[in-house]
Symmetry: C2
């Protein structure tokens, strides 16, 4: 069964240190929130189909998270900490990849109910420097994000 929905993420720079990603999902906000906040759902799409090992998951303000994604015989660690958790509306957290330790982005993820059974998710990332922002834009992040979002489309279709 195809999970193609015609939705596609837009990725654009904001200011000198930011990136804004917008994507619409064909599911109500409560369901999208669950996919972001419930660990057993999150691991089904976060790794783009790759196995995700959860080393830490404290979903509360000040709590830490750490995931290791396994792909092609390699392991990639990611981690961060929650600054804000506003149920169904917003998650603010730090984000860091083991390959570039202490290069930290702050991601603000906002869910908006579009009123027609769909949900808009906007993720704004802020980097410490313009160079870090530009490096992320040039890393092919758009494809990685879209792969995750397609996995999220599939999860939402299964649980509908």
């Amino acid at each position: 069964m195809s999970t193609k929905t015609g939705n596609e993420a837009t990725v654009e720079p904001t200011g000198e240190q930011g990136i804004r990603v917008e994507r619409v999902f064909d599911a109500p906000r409560d369901r999208v929130w669950d996919a972001y906040s419930r660990l057993e759902q999150l691991v089904q799409w976060w790794g783009r189909g790759n196995r995700v090992e959860v080393e830490r998951w404290e979903f509360r303000v000040g709590g830490h998270w750490r995931f290791v994604e396994h792909a092609d015989g390699e392991a990639h660690g990611f981690e961060g900490r929650f600054r804000e958790v506003s149920p169904k509306e917003r998650i603010v957290q730090s984000f860091e990849w083991d390959g570039m330790p202490a290069h930290v982005a702050i991601d603000t993820c906002t869910l908006t109910d579009l009123g027609d059974g769909r949900t808009k998710v906007v993720t704004e990332s802020r980097f410490h420097t313009p160079e870090e922002r530009d490096g992320m834009l040039q890393s092919g992040m758009g494809e990685g994000i879209e792969a995750s979002y397609r996995a999220l489309d599939a999860l939402l279709a299964r649980s509908s």
Copy 2:
């Protein structure tokens, strides 16, 4: 015995998101490096005389650190991760206080041999936003830093 040396830290904003702190210590660079890099020495001055509980200390690129400072019946957690460790010259690390989780500064600490038995330490902190930088400047950080540096003066005087 007084450890007053007449040295005093200068604290100044840099750009829109930075703070630069400069301080001279009456000790050779090797000794100042040891005080920053050897855990048993670091805990003697880092907490300004307060007890420092070490929860994590991995002094290498990508390694984490986490200290809990105990003062006046309260516990304050701090943590970060090392981006760069260049022996005797430079340490780059992230820095975060539990009271403001996921508000992360990147600290670059550079040691310069002044050639006369003294060492200049410059710490440049970079914040994600001008507001975070200004908040740190207004928090009375100068006094806290100077208290730590006086404890470091005392350690260096003891080990001379």
